[in-house]
Amino acid sequence: MMTNQVAPVQALPASGAGSVAARVVGLSKVYGSGSGRVVALDNVDVLIPAGRFTAVMGPSGSGKSTLLHCLAGLDRPTNGSVYLGDTALESLSDSALTELRRREIGFVFQSFNLVPTLSAEENITLPLAIAGRRPDRGLLTSLVNALGLSQRLRHRPAELSGGQQQRVALARALVTRPRVVFADEPTGNLDSRTGAELLRLVRHFVDENHQTVVMVTHDPAAAARADEVLFLADGRLRDRLSAPTVEQVLHRLAALDEGRS
């Protein structure tokens, strides 16, 4: 059982700008107080390698979303530090954090990713519009083509299928060329074939563009497409697995359950 425990992440090399996209050190997140106190994350150290596809797995309530939110600057940790590249997030004001989200981070939620009043294309370019920047036409075209959205650009979200909506959300997350794309159960609301298609696309962007992606998922098949899988339980990082296969992931998950009980 102890063999499953990863060694604590050491202080990271400062030179790792090229190799480390993000990291958290001694991260804790506590909700509430007194009898309602919930420790969502308990002294977690995680390192997200750049240009790689990292999956985060764990039982419900294990703190996966909380970790992602802290990494993405959507939530503030109770203790510990979060670094995006070399930037320490805790030192940033709300507006600097907003700016950082806009430039350095792409986000794909499980659902309700799109603004219903805007067309698919407008949704994709929304982060640029917010920043007052013009979209890079070449990048946009290649994204749209790669994601198979070229025929759907004028449609509004309500006129798109769930898979198409998530692809639009992915395009939007990628359009700013962010340092990291975070995705919280992006395939959670999709059937398995549609989900697999989305994952193929994510994989494609990681391989072709060296895009760093962190994805929370409950699906072992999805996790198996990642380069590395982090396993969380009870707010702690319990295990990690490189070059995973579905069987290995299932096995580790089972081990995790055993470890907990």
Binding site: H69, L74, E99, F109, L114, V115, A129, A131
Partner: protein, 835 residues
């Protein structure tokens, strides 16, 4: 069920704040108006009733034949009247033009709303009640009416000047009085000053004459009998009025004045309530939508439709009762300063607050009924929600009436357009009336079509910013719930349209006046008495003596009659026509004035007079025959009766020099002005004007309209702000997730705020532009009808329009503040977690 209703009310109190505020405001306006009307009306009952018979020369209503005699009673009538059995006392009254100069060198205006200035004689009767000092006892002493005393800062001991038709008097103020009239015939006017009787007779009328006599009855004598007894002894030309009847008439007049004021104020209130009801309906629709799940659950556990409806209605009634109570308290706060103001202008009006049960019950009915009715439709829709659907989650209550509304609106718009086109065809009644009908129909049509029009306008706005995503996002958001946007827009639209209409009418009327004066008056200057008095001989002599003045032509007026009907008679020097006055004569020449009279073309048409006819008039008790030598068209200053020469006036008019003098000159204007001002220095009641100044002074009557327009605009904006706050707050609430998403992908708080502010500005712009457009149409058509000017000559008051736009911009920003702040504060994770 009641318990759940009350619990809900408490649970949702945050969201209900807007509804509450709206009802409070509506009730405050309504109850404030009612309290005000009841308070000033209550005082009318306190009008003096001690006068049994009023003897006066003015023709009363019983007169059939117009018979204008010299309007004075010889003093010798007084002892004779006193000797009539049943008469307890006589009060001989002298009224005539007079004014008192205040410390500031200007005429001190007395209580009352009329422009005319009068003075009277002192008598020891309740007519004048001394509040300070003593009664005037001889020449050189006056008592001053209390409001005039306040306005002119006059106290007993102050030395000042009294102005009257014959000249001026240096006087000392010895007393301050309160005027208590026995007869009120229209908006009150109090005599500004009182002389002792002998002086009053000398300066106001003629020695040993009175203008009227008030008789009091001995105990037990009926006024009606006394009147008959007195009337039997009166010489021809004098009439006795039943005092009880007059008091009754005065009381009715007073009440109808108060009633009219209340009606005007109430119509404002009605607009406010109408808009308020829409806001309340919106809020309830939203609340009900958000609680569909709760209702579904209640339905599932066995509540029936009626119970759900009742639940919502109970909540509405709860708000209605609470808000009405608060609104009435605010209403008292509104009524108090209005009562103070009215009583300050006219002490006959009551100055104490009367809270009548009628006012309380009406306010309660208004507040509770409006709220319950506004909640009724959403309540019914809530009840119609099938339990299964409801349990699925949020439910947008889609309105079905939109299509019917649009069709009705389109039909009305077509009718309105046809009527307006008809209005363009002519400047006479069938056409002008059609125009007005068309304009008002258009207002209704635009309100019905507000949703569609807003959509079209927003699309147009969106064209230039199509490529800019954020403004477009705001445009899309405004269009998202067209019904709600339409309701908000119409609230603003109606108020702005009415305000603009009034302003356009007032500006057009002013413009018409100006045009008429500029067309008619060629004299570089004119002097006019501001209180309806005559210009004295001395003043006229001094004007003529000013270097550069070549002529000074007084304009004199008199009322003449043929049969029972009266018309105005205006006299000028024939030499002035052409040089000082420009007359348009469809028939005849200016020379006709020397040999006869020129008739106004409409009077001639009405009486079927033509050039060459001889007309017999009754004038100051004499029968006079004049020949019609020509017809004149509309002209400023000259009335619409007969125009005669000054020689004729000298022979048949009462003595005097008219209230207006046209001044001709060959000197430089500015030099002349200072000379003339010096000549008029001792007469603050005579003002010097250029024709343009005179026209704008005349148009001052319309400034009250401008004020009404401004008040209406302010009210419209206040309500619009509430409406926009309401709409935006609801919209932000519904878009919580979306705002969270926008924040997650990098939108700054200030960008969120800006987005909401733009939404607010869009609503204001649509409502404002539509309102102003319809308002211009309204104003143009009404001035067309009332002033008989072509539709296209309507004057649009630019400064007011620009001011309105500025005010609306401010209102838009103000309205956006709170919702924008709320939206910007949205917590990303919480928002994304919102189901």
């Amino acid at each position: 069920m009641w318990l759940i209703g009350v619990r809900n009310l408490l649970a949702h109190r945050g969201r209900l704040v807007l509804t509450f505020v709206t009802v409070v405001l509506g009730v405050a306006f309504a109850s404030g108006t009612l309290f005000f009307a009841d308070s000033i009306g209550a005082a009318a009952r306190a009008i003096r009733t001690d006068v049994a018979v009023l003897v006066a020369a003015t023709p009363g209503e019983e007169d059939v034949e117009y018979d204008a005699r010299p309007t004075l009673l010889p003093a010798s009538q007084l002892p004779r009247l006193a000797a009539i059995p049943g008469v307890a006392a006589t009060d001989g009254i002298v009224d005539g033009y007079a004014a008192v100069v205040g410390q500031d060198g200007k005429v001190a205006r007395p209580a009352g709303f009329a422009n005319d200035l009068i003075g009277t004689n002192w008598s020891e009767t309740p007519r004048l009640r001394l509040v300070q000092g003593r009664a005037p006892a001889g020449p050189g002493e006056i008592a001053v009416e209390q409001v005039a005393a306040r306005n002119g800062e006059l106290t007993p001991g102050t030395r000042t000047t009294a102005l009257h038709g014959a000249g001026t008097e240096e006087v000392t103020v010895v007393g301050i009085y309160l005027y208590q009239p026995a007869l009120r015939d229209g908006p009150g006017r109090a005599p500004a000053l009182a002389f002792d009787t002998t002086t009053a007779q000398r300066v106001l009328q003629k020695p040993d004459t009175f203008t009227s006599v008030e008789l009091t009855a001995a105990p037990g004598v009926a006024t009606r009998q006394l009147r008959d007894a007195v009337a039997a002894t009166l010489p021809a030309g004098l009439v006795a009025h039943d005092g009880a009847l007059l008091a009754e008439q005065s009381r009715q007049q007073e009440e109808s004045d108060a009633g009219t004021t209340a009606q005007i104020l109430l119509s404002f209130t009605l607009v406010a309530l109408l808009i308020g009801a829409t806001l309340i309906a919106n809020t309830f629709a939203m609340l009900v939508g958000r609680r569909a799940r709760e209702f579904g659950m209640l339905r599932a556990v066995g509540a029936n439709r009626r119970q759900i409806t009742m639940l919502v209605l109970v909540e509405a009634a709860g708000i209605g009762v609470l808000a009405t109570a608060v609104g009435m308290v605010v209403g008292v706060g509104l009524a108090l300063p209005m009562i103070d103001f009215a009583a300050g202008r006219d002490p006959v009006l009551g100055d104490t607050l009367h809270v009548t049960p009628r006012a309380i019950l009406s306010s309660l009915a208004v507040g509770v009924l409006v709220t319950v009715l506004a909640a009724w439709l959403p309540a019914r829709r809530a009840a119609a929600v099938p339990p299964v659907t409801a349990l699925h989650g949020d439910l947008v209550l889609v309105p079905r009436a939109m299509r019917v509304r649009t069709i009705l609106g389109l039909v009305l718009a077509v009718i309105a357009t046809l009527f307006c086109l008809l209005g363009l065809l002519g400047n006479r009644p069938p056409f002008t009336v059609a125009g007005v009908v068309g304009a008002f129909t258009m207002l209704i049509a635009v309100v019905l079509l507000a949703a569609g029009l807003a959509r079209v306008m927003l699309r147009l706005v969106a064209v230039p910013i199509r490529r800019r995503l954020l403004p477009r996002l705001a445009v899309e958001n405004v269009m998202r719930n067209p019904r709600r946007t339409a309701a908000t827009v119409s609230a603003l639209l109606v108020g702005v349209a009415l305000a603009t209409g009034i302003a356009v009418f007032a500006a057009s009327a002013t413009q018409a006046d100006l045009a008429a004066v500029e067309r008619t008056v060629r004299a570089p200057f004119l002097a006019a008495n501001i209180g309806g008095g005559q210009i004295s001989q001395a003043t006229l002599v001094r004007i003529r003596a000013v270097a550069g003045v070549t002529s000074a032509a007084p304009i004199r007026r008199e009322t003449a009659g043929t049969g029972a009907e009266t018309f105005s008679l205006t006299a000028v020097n024939p030499a002035a026509v052409g040089s000082l006055l420009n007359l348009e004569l469809p028939t005849g020449t200016p020379d006709g004035l020397a040999t006869g009279a020129l008739a106004h073309e409409s009077l001639a048409a009405e009486r079927e007079w033509s050039v060459g006819d001889s007309v017999e008039l009754t004038l100051n008790g004499q029968r006079v025959t004049v020949a019609i030598t020509g017809l004149y068209a509309d002209a400023a200053l000259l009335g619409d009766g007969l125009l005669v020469s000054d020689d004729f006036a000298e022979r048949h008019f009462r003595p005097g020099h008219g209230d207006t003098v046209l001044i001709g000159a060959d000197a430089d204007r500015s030099e002349l002005r200072s000379g003339l001002e010096a000549a008029l220095a001792d007469r603050p009641d005579v003002r010097l004007y250029t024709p343009a100044q005179y026209a704008s002074e005349e148009a001052g009557a319309f400034s009250i309209l401008i004020r009404i327009a401004t008040a209406l605009l302010a009210l419209a904006l206040a309500i619009a702000v509430l409406g926009i706050v309401n709409t935006l707050a609801l919209s932000v609430l519904e878009r919580t997730r979306e705002v969270g998403l926008l924040r997650a992908i990098g939108m700054h708080r200030r960008q969120v705020r800006a987005m909401i502010t733009v939404e607010s500005m869009l609503i204001v712009t649509v409502g404002g532009v539509l309102g102003i457009a319809v308002g211009i149409l309204l104003g143009a058509m009404v001035q067309h009808a009332v002033l008989a000017r072509p539709v296209t000559e309507a004057t649009i008051p630019l400064s007011l329009a620009l001011g309105a736009f500025a005010a609306m911009a401010v209102a838009g920003v103000v309205a956006a503040q709170w919702p924008a702040r709320r939206a910007a504060r949205t917590d990303v994770l919480e928002a994304m977690g919102t189901e």
